[in-house]
Symmetry: C2
Subunit: 198 residues, 2 copies
DNA sequence: GTCTATACGGCGATAGAC
DNA sequence: GTCTATCGCCGTATAGAC
């Protein structure tokens, strides 16, 4: 499946996909409405027939992506698995999201801090909390269940996993390398067992 | 030592420190020369008595920081230590850089990709190569010396360490938590031995 | 659904007075 | 070393014709 396919159908969806690609590549602020219009072969004024503003575009892109992603996380959390297996599934799902929605992940990764300052994007803060709850609860549960080290710093480990997974969007390009599932597996190998020889 | 202290003395250094802070907080593009001037209590035109352009400012900030950082890396690589100890020292030095030069690290972290497109900042690409050489050689040496796992994916591990160390600038604030050396130690605990209970 | 034309503001940068 | 004043450009967004 190509990246970023679910941004709606028709002309609106097409324009959103183009915008998504440009936002991911150049950054939200650095991408002008004229850039987006040019990529679509129209003039900037015509964009406003489809969207209220540039902010509306990025809003819709991020919302669509996050709604799908967290639906998948919820499904994993509802499964009858141990914390180690759930953590593995969450991480695998994250790498698959990078695979399937690379542009949207990149936008979220790079523009989230900037966009959070606007009321309109307050849901980004909610989603951050939700993601934090997922990872922290899995880590804590894993420590209790004695599958993770008893001296694990849950807070630092959470941040460490969160950051190191999502920044992979900066270098992971499935078409020129490993599949998402293989990357996830190797990543898990490091996080779970470390790089030291036993 | 407070963050970002070595940006020169006198008025020029003061202005650079202010700019450094704003660039780190709001981003390079989102920070206007008027913002910087206002923070300094002067008008935007007056800035041009000290600097050619906004680009000159960020250039000087990044160069100063990187020159110091890589001097430290070079010193570590020249020491008579094994790969595991050198890796530990490189990582500890990186966390100390986040501690001592948080703003400069944030700027490098967030603006590097954007700035690299200008010839003026081609040294950023050189520095990336240099950093990659340091980590990759340590990892490869560690595998040969049988201190790291023989099946280690050196390329992925390099990216993983690079990314996860530097993104810590987004959340690590020494004044409200652990010292840099303690963070480095816990980080190393995860990377070297993983989170699984043995 | 797109174009023409344009408003309006903020941007980086400059020249010369003080 | 700073201020006054301003230039020229480009940003988002709008109104109305086609």
């Amino acid at each position: 499946m190509p990246a970023s396919t679910k941004l709606g159908t028709g002309r609106r969806g097409e324009l959103l996909t183009l915008a998504c690609h440009l936002f991911a590549e150049r950054g939200f602020q650095a991408t002008t409405v004229r850039d987006i219009a040019e990529a679509a072969g129209i003039l900037s004024g015509s964009l406003y027939h489809h969207f209220d503003s540039k902010e509306t575009m990025v809003d819709e892109i991020i919302r669509t992506f996050q709604d799908e992603l967290f639906t998948e996380y919820d499904a994993i959390m509802a499964m009858d698995l141990g914390p180690r297996e759930k953590l593995a599934a969450v991480i695998a799902t994250s790498f698959e999201a990078i695979h399937n929605h690379r542009d949207a992940v990149a936008i979220y990764q790079h523009e989230s801090k900037y966009l959070q300052q606007f009321e309109r994007f307050s849901y980004l803060i909610e989603r951050n909390k939700q993601y934090r709850d997922i990872l922290m609860s899995l880590l804590a549960e894993g420590v209790s269940a004695e599958v993770f080290r008893e001296d694990l710093d849950v807070e630092i480990t959470y941040r460490f996993i969160r950051d190191s997974v999502w920044v992979a969007v900066g270098w992971y390009h499935p078409e020129r390398g490993l599949a998402a599932s293989e990357i996830a597996e190797r990543y898990l190998g490091i996080v779970l067992d470390g790089i030291s020889r036993k």
